[in-house]
């Protein structure tokens, strides 16, 4: 029984080629596809039609959680659970709770950013089907690839292959999942 197909991979030789190809794939309405390049290509995110990362929203929530934690921690320990007068100050004041809340805002924002980045990137990822491609190592050196996945609703074995050929893709190969 043949292994189920992951998608089609096509090779490109220059950044300009792969960039224009990506624009066409984007305009064709594909959703589950990717570009593989040995280095970051300025403008590729736009050419791929990628939306802005959602990580900042997770960061913001983390910061909010940190600030709330700091404030409630100081309030609960000093003014609720075990009332204690320190230095003639009130049991609770946002003044002296602020440095703690500020630090926790930063700490929780950092944690949330890292965790959000891992979640949205689905990291850690120990296996990826494109690693099965015997010429994949060129994609870490001097070649560029476009991979279109079979799970894309617009994927059609013949039409997608034709599209990849039409936009200049070479060595179009089927990837095993």
């Amino acid at each position: 029984m043949p292994a189920p197909s992951y998608g089609l991979i096509a090779t490109f030789e220059t950044t300009a080629e792969v960039m224009h190809a990506a624009e066409t794939v984007r305009d064709q309405g594909y959703k589950f596809w990717d570009v593989i390049s040995p280095f970051p290509i300025h403008g590729m995110d736009r050419a791929m039609g990628m939306r802005r990362s959602k990580v900042p929203q997770v960061s913001f929530l983390g910061g909010l959680a940190g600030f709330t934690t700091g404030m409630s921690l100081i309030w609960w320990t000093g003014a609720s659970n075990y009332k204690l007068i320190v230095g003639g100050k009130p049991y609770f004041s946002p003044m002296f709770a602020f440095p703690v809340s500020y630090e926790l805002t930063i700490l929780f924002t950092a944690f949330a950013t890292i965790i959000g980045m891992f979640l949205f990137n689905r990291l850690p990822m120990h296996y990826h089907p494109v690693l099965n491609y015997e010429k994949f190592h060129r994609g870490t050196n001097d070649r560029f690839f476009i991979v279109i996945e079979t799970r894309d609703p617009r994927f059609d074995p013949a039409a997608t292959r034709a599209l990849l050929e039409q936009i200049g893709g070479r060595e179009i190969t089927e990837l095993e999942d």
Binding site: G49, R52, P56, K89, F96
Partner: protein, 425 residues
């Protein structure tokens, strides 16, 4: 990547003349200054006018110093994206000699009418007039500080500081404008070196000046954060004016094909960062004084919780920090050419209010309470700010018309024009 330099207009800015605008700015400036001067002839307004003039100067000098600092920071980081912003700042720096000239009346006041603004300038001043007792000369807190708080030191520090600022501004302007014609990289290297030396000079002169000009209005007070507070205000005002200049040039058409979203994103990020920095510094100052609870320090804030000053303080807390923080944190706001100038103008206005908050309560009633914020004398603050601002804008536009729109031969201009950050929306 392709270099779109070919499509960039390198023509002098003659296509969009700025001369009429410059004349208007000059007229507005002179009108403001004239109206402020008229205030001197209205009985009982002298002290109000003098303090207002100080506020106007501290604000606009702050804008210029913030720009000078940002130019030096640009050179120290060998930054690329800010090359086109730097050129606009260089133009604005031509206002510094005029600001020095406009400061002369205050030096004149110091020598001829020493108690008008800074009470410590006259050791015989009777503190009973402002809610104290004895004279300034009897006051141990002045006696201990008298080596620094003297009219001679005041004059000397002001003169030397202006000399340093004007000299640095001239060097950066010359280096940048000379490079337009010969493209020699030695101008850039010279600017790097002068920036490295200039930053510590700026730190010292800016701190000493704001201590003498503003902090010494309540000479009992102690705060080691004061210079940093002014620095934060200077940079925030300079970034705000910078953002407005960039978008103004884009709307006029000069920056079509030059200014991109990434430039705006970067200046928006700096505006956001300095919002947090200002809050950090201002809160630190307040928190340490609140925590130590020493009368020689707390009185400064007690004055500012009196009457409507409490509300001014609240406006600063929410308007100077929270509102810009929650607005600028969003990426789409930073690159919005309609919204960013509004946020920038708002920040600049609040920097001005912050200076009012620091200066105005120094004018006290005989029982020691400050005059309220909302009072007739506020009109002189308006005329001073408009007057001095008009002169600054005139100086900027006059310099703007003399050179290229962008530093066309700067080693980093290519990177600046193709400035890119990974993003999409």
């Amino acid at each position: 990547m392709s270099t779109p330099t070919a499509s960039v207009s390198t023509a002098p800015v003659g296509a969009f003349p700025v001369a009429p605008g410059a004349t208007k700015a000059l007229m507005l400036g002179l009108a403001g200054i004239g109206l402020t001067a008229l205030g001197l002839f209205l009985p009982g307004n002298t002290a109000s006018v003098a303090l207002s003039w100080l506020i106007g100067l501290v604000f606009w000098i702050g804008v210029a110093l913030g720009m000078l600092l940002l130019v030096m920071i640009h050179h120290l980081f060998d930054a690329n994206w800010s090359v086109l912003l730097r050129r606009q700042y260089e133009h604005w720096l031509s206002s510094l000699p005029w600001l020095a000239l406009l400061f002369v009346p205050l030096i004149f006041v110091a020598w001829t009418n020493p108690t008008l603004i800074w009470k410590w300038m006259d050791p015989h001043f009777d503190l009973a007039q402002v809610g104290g007792h004895g004279t300034v000369g009897d006051d141990v807190l002045w006696a201990k500080k008298s080596g620094f708080l003297s009219i001679k030191v005041f004059t000397l520090v002001t003169a030397v500081s202006f000399a340093v600022w004007i000299a640095l501004a001239r060097i950066f302007r010359r280096n940048s404008f000379a490079q337009d014609s010969d493209g020699d990289v030695r101008w850039t290297i010279s600017s790097h070196k002068w920036s490295a030396g200039g930053i510590p000079l700026m730190a010292v002169t800016l701190t000493l000046c704001v201590i003498l000009w503003v902090k010494s209005l309540d000479y009992h007070w102690f705060s080691t954060m004061y210079g940093v507070w002014y620095f934060a205000g200077c940079v925030r005002a300079a970034l705000s004016v910078g953002a407005i200049m960039l978008i103004w040039l884009w709307v006029r058409g000069d920056f079509k094909g030059i200014l991109n979203d990434n430039h705006l994103h970067s200046i928006g990020q700096l505006m956001f960062a300095f919002t947090v920095f200002w809050a950090y510094v201002t809160f630190s100052q307040y928190f340490l004084i609140w925590n130590a609870n020493v009368p020689e320090e707390t009185f400064w804030y007690n004055l500012r919780e009196h009457g409507d000053w409490l509300w001014v303080g609240m406006v600063l807390l929410f308007g100077h920090f929270l509102a810009p923080f929650l607005t600028l944190i969003h990426y789409p706001v930073k690159i919005n050419k309609k919204l960013l100038p509004v946020v920038a103008a708002f920040i600049a206005l609040i920097v001005l209010l912050d200076i009012c908050y620091n200066v105005m309560p120094a004018k006290k009633l005989p029982n020691g309470d400050p005059y309220p914020f909302l009072q007739g004398g506020l009109i002189w603050t308006l005329t001073s700010v408009v007057g001095i601002g008009g002169i600054c804008v005139w100086a900027y536009l006059k310099s703007f018309a003399t050179t290229k729109l962008i530093p066309i031969r700067d080693p980093r201009i290519g990177e600046c024009l193709t400035y890119h950050q990974p993003h999409a929306d």
